[in-house]
Symmetry: C2
Subunit: 241 residues, 2 copies
DNA sequence: CAGTGGTCTAGACCACGAA
DNA sequence: TCGTGGTCTAGACCACTGT
């Protein structure tokens, strides 16, 4: 086994044993190189491995630190964004920025409208532990968004969108979701504060009403190592038949 | 911008322009180092970037090659494994290995049985383009698996499991699926022929019958950059009501 | 300013694959 | 056996952070 792997194992062990705790700064790279009698490049590769695993976090100019073990946030398939992990008591804050946009090609395809159609866009940034962990763009046809704001009196969030649509007389017939894992764009990497090599989980969701029109579309980007997605489907033929 | 990034851009450009085509071998690392007047380590880092992007593939002892752009395979939520991308004409082969196992803790939790319970396990390896792209472990309670083999006469695959269960009188009430992205275990990396730093998409699925018992459980592991997962839910209240 | 991680070099040896 | 990528070194300079 390569030496950098052994160093990674050794530091992993130190963390597991509690010799290094969450938030602690690791020895500097020259110190580690000296300690293991290896070149600095070799211990750097070990740290890269640990960073890819999400065990540590490196900051240019500051040092390397033991990371809080990533608690997975659960995304549950439902109308409106739903991100929660109920039992850990950590607050999740959301920042919402509503606006209206002209649909570019990808959004137009998602919403099944002509490119250039005007849509209401809700941009959400979800924070947790003072770190961003999710970007959500939710699109609603303009005529529906007016009904939404009128009925709720403020910018809706999550399940409120669902209820608002219902109150506005929209009957949702089907929700389709597409889940993909990929490398983040540069923007996404910065917004979500992602390490090099990290992936994001992308969920594209459309809610179709009983007229076959797309009533809501969502584009969610989340850090791949901090989310789990749960789908639960009741089958068409219930037990009673 | 760092020099290795510029080299990566340059090679990316060569591929985009068709100077390098799918399957072509790249110049060797010493050649590239010479060509760009950089050290070998620097061009190696450029190649690492391209490999992480899935653009090239490196083979120890053979060379680096332009990779076929990863066609995403679509996993559609359904009973039984369903992996297909209909319109590309590339054959998907499956190798099945049935056996019976004693449930370890994670499997026992998936199937909601006591640890140590005997279960039928079907291990599938899905191949495509002569490369493995999916590992599936499907678990069925032993009494159901006997019914299955009896009714189909051979080892069932995919939708056959669903039909077989139905024929055996099992009424499925709900399917739950959990999707997670993570780094592969060493075994998984080898079986799926994954590059360093690649992630896998894991789907854990359980099908529950109308008695609340788990009739089928599945643990699917797929290369994160070659799958997309699609869920479609008809809502509880159809349009007609 | 001092201390940290990020990039880069020139050279060496090793491990693997194919002929 | 030979050519390939994988690992490693000792040293250098740069870029960022906090004081």
């Amino acid at each position: 086994m390569a030496r950098y792997q052994r160093v990674a194992d050794s530091i992993r062990e130190r963390i597991a044993q509690g010799l290094l705790s969450v938030g602690d700064q690791l020895p500097t790279e020259p110190e580690l190189a000296n300690e293991y009698a290896l070149s600095r490049l070799t211990v750097r590769r070990a740290l890269d491995v640990l960073q890819a695993e999400g065990l540590i976090e490196k900051f240019h100019g500051r040092g390397s630190f033991v990371r809080r073990p990533p608690r997975r946030v659960t995304y549950v398939s439902r109308c409106g964004v739903q991100l929660d992990q109920p039992t850990d008591g950590v607050e999740i804050e959301n920042y919402v920025k509503p606006s209206s946009v002209l649909a570019e090609a990808p959004v137009a395809s998602l919403m099944q409208v002509e490119p250039g159609t005007e849509l209401a866009e809700y941009l959400y940034i979800a924070m947790r532990d003072r770190e961003p962990y999710g970007l959500a763009r939710i699109y609603v046809p303009l005529e529906l968004s007016n009904l939404l704001t009128a009925s709720t009196g403020h910018v809706p969030w999550g399940a409120e969108i669902c209820q608002g649509l219902k109150a506005a007389g929209v009957r949702l017939a089907r929700i389709s979701e597409r889940v993909v894992s990929r490398l983040p764009s540069q923007d996404e990497a910065e917004s979500l504060n992602l390490a090099a090599g990290a992936t994001v989980l992308v969920i594209e969701r459309t809610a179709v009403d009983d007229q076959g029109r797309v009533a809501e579309g969502a584009h969610l980007v989340m850090p791949g190592d901090r989310v789990e997605v749960v789908f639960s489907t009741a089958l068409a033929e219930p037990a009673g038949r």
